[in-house]
């Protein structure tokens, strides 16, 4: 294992120390591992909290700031944060207008956020609603599974709902918007290499030199199947076709995210975007906006994912609204 770390057990704590040095626009509660805006949102605005296991940077801490989240709770690597963290964050940032939890659909995240919400409502009397993202088409959605994983759509949702919260929309409107976004977004990912969880010290799965893993998530989970390593244009098919088979993206413009898993260089991501754009064009899909880069990662995994989000004018307007976070910034 070759990583720029001090000790596996200190990775999250040390990264938060670095984040604290990186900007004066964040305030970090190191004990509870919560990342706040240094300058809280104005009174009467709904606050947004997300969080999850670490290892997906810039998600979520890099999305705290004007136009996106109010707080992010960092768990251990690939492990959901605990209810205590979300509860502390909730109490800290509620301005009276309530709090929206943005939760990725993993059993651990669901249960921990659920416990936090129960406590926030019953003990602290704070109005909390939760929205769960589950956009990963690699996973079969059925009553008999934990359902689809929440992946790329989470980033787009945090941006768009964050902008709406900044505008002063109320909790139930925001939660409806968030659900609407989740319902209109789909993602799919592939890996060229496994990531290595620092505490484990070896790759989570072995992937021969001539194979790629199709349908991976963001935790080094094995995907649904393996294929011989393909050319970029074949990989693009493997990513986009299952998404288009699952949802009709031709009726409205889309926001496309071509996301790197952490160890794939930007030149390859640019190239992959070109291949994806070709397929979308051929499929009659109109790209309104895009993002290319490392936005929701899986430690040091090489590979990429594609997210499509079908949007209306309102969502595009919110997308274009100013945002000032470490991970996304424009208009300010």
């Amino acid at each position: 294992m070759k990583k720029l770390i001090n000790a596996p057990d200190n990775l999250v704590a040390d990264a938060l120390l670095g984040l604290a040095e990186a900007t004066t626009e964040l305030r970090i509660d190191h004990k509870n591992r919560i990342i706040y805006r240094a300058e809280p949102k104005q009174k009467g605005r709904v606050a947004l909290i997300s969080g999850g296991g670490s290892g997906h940077e810039p998600l979520h801490g890099g999305y705290v700031g004007l136009g996106m989240l109010d707080a992010a709770c960092a768990g251990e690597v690939f492990t959901s944060p605990t209810p205590d963290q979300m509860l502390a964050a909730t109490k800290q940032i509620d301005t009276g207008a309530g709090v929206l939890y943005i939760v990725k659909n993993y059993t651990g995240d669901i249960m921990n956020f659920e416990m936090a919400a129960e406590l926030a409502i019953s003990v602290a009397g704070i109005n909390v609603l939760s929205v769960v993202t589950n956009d990963d088409v690699a996973v079969q959605d059925s009553l008999y599974t934990a359902g689809r994983r929440g992946v790329g759509v989470t980033v787009l949702l945090e941006k768009i709902v964050g902008a709406a919260a900044e505008e002063g929309q109320d909790l139930s409107t925001l939660s409806t918007l968030a659900r609407d976004i989740n319902n209109n977004g789909r993602s799919m990912g592939i890996a060229l290499t496994s990531c290595t969880v620092p505490a484990v010290g070896k790759p989570t799965f072995d992937l021969p030199d001539n194979e790629m893993e199709i349908g991976i998530g963001i935790h080094g989970e094995p995907g649904r199947h393996r294929l011989p390593l393909g050319a970029a244009r074949e990989i693009a098919e493997q990513l986009v076709e299952p998404i288009l088979a699952d949802f009709n993206f031709t009726s409205r413009p889309v926001i496309v995210m071509l996301n790197g898993m952490g160890a794939s260089p930007l030149i390859e991501l640019y190239l992959m975007y070109g291949e994806v754009a070709k397929i979308l064009k051929r499929s009659g899909i109109n790209v309104a906006r895009n993002l290319i880069g490392n936005y929701i990662t899986a430690l040091d995994m090489a590979g990429c994912s594609v997210t499509l989000l079908s949007v209306d004018d309102q969502m595009i307007k919110l997308w274009d609204a100013p945002v000032k976070t470490l991970g996304l910034r424009w208009g300010i």
Partner: protein, 229 residues
């Protein structure tokens, strides 16, 4: 699925109530469990690497280390308090799926045990059953979903039947240990329907569920501590 399978043994308790298990013995149980998950951390994590995200061992070790630190620093004076501290510590330090599940398990055991310093067989069984109901409330596992429930439910069932047949604590715990191990082993042939492993569909077949393996350790620890009782 018959209710008795779902919630362990739900029949009448005819078991002996004379013999009891003390607060100290329960602490010893937790201590043994902590030792076992530490010793088998890599094994648990490797199971999780195969069908999950490679953290179950580190999660359980982090949690149980915190638990032992907490109860060593401020030894609880009743069994109710003991289990509540255990549950709260697990909830606060583990995260992931196992944090709320194991955390709720012990929290409910604590509520059911109450402010006592010893439990007889019937009381212990009731506490364990309450804990399992907490797990079911949190995670909604069904039998054969390939989760820790598949070790927990048969273990409690075996424990109840054994105690109900006037066996010793020691024998009952041994029965529970064996049933948990059999339940764990049986997860290998199942398709996961809950938790991360469910993303894999058919590819989850052939691997043990990591949570069922840590639950088997919980009953191994119990059997070891109660051996001779």
């Amino acid at each position: 699925m018959p209710p008795s399978r779902r919630l362990g043994f739900a029949g009448e308790f005819k078991i002996m109530t004379s013999k009891t298990i003390s607060l100290n013995q329960l602490v010893a149980w937790l201590n043994k469990f902590s030792e076992l998950v530490s010793a088998q951390c890599n094994y648990l994590t490797d199971l999780d690497a195969a069908i999950g995200d490679a953290d179950h061992g580190t999660n359980m070790v982090r949690g149980m280390t915190a638990v032992m630190n907490a109860i060593t620093a401020a030894p609880p004076s009743t069994i109710g308090d003991l289990f509540k501290v255990v549950g709260m510590t697990l909830v606060s330090t583990v995260g992931g799926a196992s944090g709320p599940l194991y955390g709720t398990f012990f929290l409910r055991m604590g509520v059911t045990s109450g402010a006592v310093s010893e439990l007889n067989g019937a009381q212990l069984l009731m506490a364990l059953n309450a804990g399992m109901e907490g797990v079911v409330a949190r995670g909604k596992p069904l039998a054969n979903d390939k989760t820790l429930f598949d070790a927990l439910a048969p273990a409690l069932h075996a424990f109840a039947i054994s105690l109900n047949s006037y066996h010793s604590f020691s024998d009952a715990a041994l029965a529970a240990q064996m049933a948990a191990a059999v339940g764990r082993d049986a997860t290998a042939s199942l398709i996961a329907r809950k938790g991360r492993a469910s993303y894999l569909g058919e590819r989850s077949i052939g691997h043990f569920d990591p949570g069922s393996a840590s639950t088997a350790l919980l009953f191994e620890a119990l059997a070891e501590v109660l051996s001779g009782e």
